[in-house]
């Protein structure tokens, strides 16, 4: 099996009162077994919507997956019945989220919440799932796990909660983990510990990770392959080494230059002028053209196609489209 997951031309729209928002607009990328794929881009570019679409957790109304394929171990998740999909969620694909504060249910014990997926997917009974929950908490490095398993989320610190979330996600040894900004809400030391833990566990259970973040520093540390998104589209994807040494798309170049202080308070990138376009007023042509120093006439008219410049390195930009003119 060469690929664990192949996302092809995924399209997810939100139908709001005023308009249709194309939050994910033809996204494609691949994940190999055991590989860590970083998904980066500014706030609002559609990273979370991609991950929820893979899990088919987009709620209608207002959101709906309108096209594409999500091939997981050869099966198209978008074509499965809801029952078949439920057997994949939490079992073969698991998720963790940005806010460990809000992603655990405040009224149930940690052990109950971890044990839930174990009981569901592995058909074990209550006491056994409880014991398994303790084991999982040990695995993610929580001290006194026999006691913590009985705690409620508010009794734990942010870092401990995120560890508990990870324990929950990994409890059925999924082959793919989707981590949506798992460390953004944590302070730097805790962040480093959680990243270390994820790297370690990924080795232990040979699990692939889609790692979503807008922190390129974290990507450099964690990812094998990087997918850069802008306004609902993938603008570039490459191996992590290639991406940082030879970024092609002007947006990627700007992102890397802006590192390490990726965004200031207002979310404005240092080296890229302007802001992400309002999803309701997308510019004609390439969505990035209003902010691009190299924009050509054609960029204002047509969305550029994706070109594979080298095996495994694709970019959506006219500058690298050999038969279409030179940069100004």
């Amino acid at each position: 099996m060469e690929y664990l997951l192949q996302v092809r031309d995924l399209k997810t729209n939100f139908y709001t009162d005023s308009a249709v928002v194309h939050a994910v607009d033809g996204v494609s990328f691949d994940v190999r077994p055991g590989e860590v794929v970083g998904l980066v881009g500014e706030s609002g570019c559609g990273k979370s919507v991609v991950s929820l679409s893979i899990m088919r957790l987009i709620q209608y109304p207002p959101g709906k997956i309108e096209g594409g394929n999500v091939l997981f171990k050869g099966r198209d998740l978008l074509k499965l019945s809801e029952g078949e999909m439920r057997r994949i969620r939490g079992n073969e694909i698991a998720m963790i989220f940005q806010e460990p504060m809000t992603s655990l249910n405040p009224v149930y014990r940690i052990g109950d919440q971890i044990g839930e997926a174990i009981r569901l997917h592995q058909g074990v009974d209550g006491p056994a799932s409880w014991k398994k929950a303790v084991e999982m908490l040990k695995l993610v490095g929580i001290p006194r796990s026999e006691e913590v398993v009985r705690d409620y989320p508010h009794q734990l610190s942010g870092g401990m909660r995120q560890r508990a979330m990870i324990a929950m996600a990994l409890s059925c040894y999924p082959s793919l983990l989707i981590a949506d900004e798992p460390t953004t809400a944590l302070d730097v030391t805790i962040q480093a510990q959680i990243l270390e833990l994820m790297r370690d566990l990924r080795q232990k259970i040979n699990m692939a990770i889609i790692f979503i973040t807008h922190d390129l520093g974290v990507i450099a540390e964690m990812a094998d392959h990087v997918v850069v998104m802008y306004a609902g589209k993938v603008v570039e994807d490459a191996g992590v080494g290639v991406l940082f040494t030879e970024p092609l798309h002007p947006y990627t170049v700007g992102l890397i230059k802006s590192k390490p202080k990726v965004e200031d308070e207002k979310g404005v990138l240092d080296f890229i002028p302007g802001v992400v376009p309002n999803p309701l007023e997308m510019p004609a042509g390439c969505y990035f053209n209003p902010r691009c120093a190299h924009a050509m006439d054609i960029c204002l008219q047509e969305m550029p196609p994706v070109v594979e410049v080298k095996p495994g390195h694709r970019v959506r930009c006219r500058l690298f489209n050999k038969d279409k003119g030179e940069a100004r």
């Binding site: 929820l52 899990m55 957790l57 109304p61 439920r86 057997r87 994949i88 969620r89 939490g90 079992n91 698991a94 998720m95 989220f97 806010e99 809000t102 992603s103 655990l104 249910n105 405040p106 009224v107 149930y108 839930e116 997926a117 569901l120 997917h121 409620y152 508010h154 979330m165 929950m168």
Partner: protein
Amino acid sequence: MKRLLLSIPVLIGVSILVFSIVRFIPGDPARAIAGVHASPQHIEQVRRELLLDEGLHVQYYVYMSNLFQGDLGQSTFSRRPVATELRERFPNTVRLSVAAMVVATAVGMTAGIISATRRYSIFDYSSMVGALIGVAAPVFWLGVMFQLLFAVQLGWLPSGGMGTFRHLILPALTLGLATAALIARITRSSMLDVLRQDYITTARSKGLIERVVTYKHALKNALIPVVTVMGLQFGTLLGGAVLVETVFSWPGIGRLMVDSILARDYPVVQGAVLLLAVTFVLINLLVDVIYAFLDPRISYGTREVE
């Protein structure tokens, strides 16, 4: 525990209020308490019993010590001890209010949950319009309408009185409907709010079926504000009971109170008000207990600040 202590000043306040009802009515309190048709000797006797010639603090002290001995005075109308009158009537009010609350909770929560999970469906729209009407309709009017429709026109149910279970249906519906409407609205908005939370996505991402997500993960969180409203609403319900008991000739505390006011039977009015107030306070204590059960973040009556 803290809440238990807090309710003591509330009860003292209520006792002072009830104590003052009679002391500060215009005219001669002794005359008022003894009744309009009392003989001068009797009025004199009441004056002595109530120590009306002493200072207010002495009066209050005696009043309270009598209260603690279960002595609420005597009805000027029936000449029976107030406590006996109340003891006879109170269970009827409890039965009516509990039945109304059961109706309100069952109807209100079901409608609220379905509305929230099938948002913008026909069911959602119609139940919310129904809830709006339910909240807006005066209890008194509703009771009379029910009587006209189900008792007079259709003849399905008795129009008043107490006795069989069938006698309970209309008053309980009348009394419970407004609360049902309110509970439906609160449940809906609370559920919608909870269903947007991250932990609901977490629950779904585990592969749980939607029913478990709704009833296990969402409902328990959503109930926290609903229980608050229910507790507060019990006060309104007791107030509504006064009207409903009158409309349906239901022999409860509310009816007793109305009759006593009309008969200027002040000791009974005092006793009834006191009893309703104490009931209200006790219910709110119960609500706090339920709270702590629903929300582990609450302990000993203090809510943890985020």
